[in-house]
């Protein structure tokens, strides 16, 4: 790969998604691009980059998606889900007891494992039967991942890492050697492709944002922008869950950590724009 091409790809990726290639090896980049090259009929990266320089949007989108890391699993980083189950959910069920409405956003959902894990915990409370309206909104920049999430079909290995077998039999049905998420969970979750660099205007009044293991791939400016927009769509008494290696520190003053609760943040008291405006 020519240094020029690497530079172009790095710049394009950063501009379109905020993702940083950092010191990614050429073999790594070529490996990720191989399926796109096959699909669009390019023999080498130079050809592909030459075409990108002409501004082919579909190609640029495919390249961007191909460079994402979609690693995830059900109940990934279990302590965070314990916090959600034992602290966040009980608090919200009390506070929203009269409105009976919960909106939870999985902001970089990969193939949907995070969103369905949330849905399983919500389903434990049989909220639908008690008249609650539950929306789990699951978004990702990768349309392919979003489509997988929508299908809700997971493989032999995926369902055995992080998912207790009890939940597997309770919430999934078998299709050959794969397992499909049950209808009642799928009804709770709405999938949609969405780039976190775009405007969050369509999102509002979110009770909990799960934004886990995505900031770590983004550059400083993108991180700042994402956290800033989250602070605007999150309700003043809502919650933000970050990945275990992520922190808003140095990026945003809008969130305070909840002591003793790994990954959990609440809107900072000093920064309650909604109430100030009121």
């Amino acid at each position: 790969m020519k240094p020029d091409d690497v530079a172009y790809l790095t710049h394009m990726l950063r501009r379109r998604s905020g993702m940083m290639l950092g010191r990614a090896k050429p073999e790594f980049i070529e490996g990720r691009l191989a399926p796109v090259m096959r699909r669009f009929g390019f023999k080498d990266v130079s050809g592909l980059v030459a075409e990108l320089r002409h501004g082919r949007d579909a190609l640029a989108r495919a390249v961007t998606e191909a460079m994402t890391t979609n690693e995830s699993s059900f109940f990934r980083d279990r302590p965070s889900f314990d916090v959600f189950e034992q602290l966040v959910l009980p608090a919200l069920l009390t506070r929203r007891g009269s409105a009976k409405r919960l909106r939870i956003w999985s902001a970089a959902c990969a193939a949907g494992q995070e969103a369905y894990s949330i849905a399983m915990l919500l389903d434990d409370h049989k909220l639908a039967a008690k008249g609650w309206t539950i929306d789990v909104i699951a978004t990702d920049i990768s349309a392919e991942m979003v489509a997988r999430g929508e299908q809700g079909l997971y493989g032999h290995f995926e369902v055995q890492r992080g998912l207790p077998v009890r939940r597997l039999v309770d919430h999934f049905s078998q299709e050959g050697s794969s397992w499909r998420v049950g209808e009642n969970l799928r009804r709770m979750v709405t999938f949609r492709p969405f780039n976190l660099l775009d405007s969050f205007g369509w999102l509002e009044d979110i009770d909990v944002v799960f934004c886990r293991n995505v900031l770590m791939y983004l550059d400083h400016k993108a991180k700042v922008g994402v956290l800033d927009q989250i602070s605007e769509v999150l309700l003043p008494d809502g919650y933000l869950m970050l990945g275990s290696v992520e922190t808003p520190q140095g990026l945003s003053n809008a969130f305070d950590p909840v002591p003793g609760s790994p990954g959990l943040y609440v809107p900072a008291r000093a920064a309650l724009p909604r109430q100030a405006v009121g």
Binding site: Q160, R161, V165, R166, L168, V169, S173, Q174
Partner: protein, 121 residues
């Protein structure tokens, strides 16, 4: 050291599972069917049992039902590890007192994940 009894009629599977488990800090023992496993448990009750389903002499589920009636037989954590990969089998195993369930083929990650499920990670 934590102990795990690996019960499977395939010598290869026992070897693979034992290697993974001892890497993960378990002292391992092997049995090739339910009858031998039950004898082994009477002599020394392990903390965990990795259990195949279909084996000669006594199947995994028969063994588990018998085990749970033994003195201290409620103690070991029992994780099935089997090619019986359908919902009915899983439900039957859980009903018989299994704590977790691994569908073959398995790898190190799955064993590790299931150990975490049963609090033995």
């Amino acid at each position: 050291m934590r102990s795990c009894l690996v019960v499977d009629d395939s010598r290869v599977i026992r070897k693979v599972a034992c290697r993974i488990l001892s890497d993960l800090g378990f002292e391992t023992a092997e049995a090739e069917d339910g009858v031998t496993a039950l004898e082994s448990c009477r002599a020394h009750m392990p903390e965990m049992i990795l259990l195949d389903w279909s084996m000669p002499n006594m199947s995994g589920v028969e063994f588990l039902r018998a085990l749970r009636r033994e003195r201290a037989g409620d103690k070991p954590v029992v994780v099935f590890c089997t090619t019986e990969n359908d919902v009915n089998s899983i439900t039957e195993a859980l009903g018989a007192g299994a704590n977790e369930y691994i569908m073959k083929p398995f790898d190190r990650d799955i064993i590790q994940a299931k150990l975490a499920e049963v609090g033995l990670a």
